[in-house]
């Protein structure tokens, strides 16, 4: 029976993170996986419009306040991984989750990515 307690870090409130929402998938160029790689550049125009450049694509998005905020929870298991299958309520080492962050707004990129063409051959 799962008995998990959530609590925020004592003292301070949880940090605020930003959510970036993209349509479709992000893949790495050589299929090397995403971890550790540069994804792209995020710019804001003077009007505050977020612009994302990923590879040779440019996406325009907008900032939205989330109607229902998200919380990101990190698990702290009281037991080593292989014992989790048989875990019953274990008062000495209960599994707990802490709220690492709250997300109250997001940048959503819904427009179709446009390819950036930098080299337009001149008409002769």
């Amino acid at each position: 029976m799962g008995f998990c307690v959530f609590c925020s870090k004592a003292g301070e409130g949880p940090a605020e993170w930003l959510l970036v929402e993209l349509q479709g998938e992000v893949v790495s160029r050589q299929n090397t996986g995403l971890a550790g790689n540069l994804m792209g550049d995020l710019h804001y125009t003077k009007e505050g419009v977020p612009v994302l450049i990923v590879g040779h694509h440019i996406l325009y998005g907008k900032q939205v306040k989330l109607e229902k905020p998200f919380a990101v929870l990190m698990k702290h298991s009281g037991l080593p991984r292989d014992e989790e299958e048989t875990m019953e309520t274990n008062q000495e080492n209960p599994t707990s989750y802490t709220v690492s962050a709250l997300i109250k707004k997001k940048l959503i990129f819904k427009t179709r990515p446009k390819p950036i063409i930098t080299n337009v051959p001149k008409k002769v």
Partner: protein, 352 residues
């Protein structure tokens, strides 16, 4: 399932900090805060969600148009799915079921120890019941449970009625008004028959406690609650009663001066006005299934067609936030008109 939540991180749509997930292995997980219960449902999206700690939005950046700023931000992780919370009514039927494993029927007689049986503390209940603490506490009050030696116990109904009988008989012999029942005299006069804590508990269940000008603790007995309990005592002895005979016996059984009225029996008894003679039988909402679909199936097995007025007390608790019984009926039943009256029946064939 609760085990499905064992991931290294989960993202939840939520607005509070102190939360508890409850559920036995085979139950769906619910999340509780101090006074509410939420269903946990996984939602997925075809969009990619990226989490960027500390990433600033334009309103958070200083307005320096001079030199461009480059800030390095790391994407902490990504996900296609998240957990959504939906407020739901707490699953409390289990609470009464647990307490009924070992009802309390009075202190042990003579030198005997009380017979062994399962007993639950509040902490035990918090662990087993999928509801928040406040919801559990409210339900314990509804079922007239009391804490005895640190354990929450439900009273055996006959014992509860015995206690009530002592109180109402005393009210009668002292010629007190039902709304001015003094606690101290009750404890003094009845303390030799039953434990004082039980007398007081009975008064708390069937009356409203207040203090008079002299600071004395007084109770105002609740006519509806007393009459309703008396009705249950009578109805549980037979499958069906002739309605008019029942009403006569019932009125004679309630304390003199109290009025027994049929509207006091909503959610407790079902009238059959189509039979000749008209009958009444015990049907308690707490004996019906908790799940919405099962509840409707159960009601339609008992009776093929229901008027809204008859079925309402038995589906009232199923309503979600801002949902009406009318909406529930539209969703789960089919309506027709019989003898000029709108009735509801099941949407699917029911084996009766």
């Amino acid at each position: 399932m609760v085990h499905d939540l064992l991931e290294s991180f989960i993202v939840m749509s939520v607005f509070f900090i102190s939360l508890i997930i409850r559920g036995d292995k085979d139950e769906h997980a619910v999340l509780c805060n101090e006074d509410e219960t939420y269903d946990l449902k996984i939602a997925d999206t075809s969009n990619l969600l990226l989490f960027v700690p500390g990433c600033k939005t334009p309103d958070q950046l200083p307005d320096i148009s001079a030199s461009p700023q480059l800030v390095h931000a790391q994407i902490w992780g990504f996900s296609n799915c998240y957990w959504e919370l939906r407020r739901q009514r707490p699953r409390l039927k289990k609470l009464k079921k647990l307490l009924m494993e070992n009802p309390y029927d009075g202190p042990a007689v003579g030198m005997q120890e009380e017979a062994p049986g399962p007993k639950y503390t509040m902490d035990d209940l918090l662990e087993r019941i999928q509801a928040s603490r406040e919801e559990i506490e409210a339900h314990l009050q509804n079922v007239h449970a009391c804490e005895i030696d640190g354990f929450w116990r439900i009273l055996d109904f006959d014992y509860e009625m015995k206690l009530l009988g002592h109180v109402t008989q005393l009210v009668d012999s002292e010629s007190w008004s039902f709304s001015k029942v003094p606690l101290s005299v009750c404890l003094e006069e009845l303390g030799s028959l039953e434990p004082k804590s039980m007398i007081e508990h009975c008064l708390n269940c069937y009356g409203r406690r207040y203090s008079n000008e002299d600071g004395q603790v007084i109770y105002a007995l609740d006519e509806d609650k007393v009459c309703r309990a008396t009705a249950q005592l009578l109805l549980q002895n037979a499958v069906k009663f002739n309605l008019s005979e029942f009403q006569e016996v019932w009125q004679q059984s309630v304390p003199e001066g109290m009025s027994a009225r049929l509207d006091q029996l909503r959610g407790l008894a079902l009238l059959d006005r189509s039979s000749k003679p008209e009958t009444i039988s015990l049907l308690r909402i707490e004996d019906l299934p908790e799940d919405t679909l099962e509840r409707f199936n159960s009601l339609f097995s008992l009776r093929e067609k229901w008027t809204q007025d008859d079925i309402e007390p038995y589906i009232q608790d199923l309503c979600g936030e801002k949902q009406t019984t009318g909406a529930l009926l539209t969703k789960h039943a089919r309506s027709s008109v019989q003898n000029g009256v709108k009735v509801y029946n099941s949407r699917r064939p029911i084996a009766t």
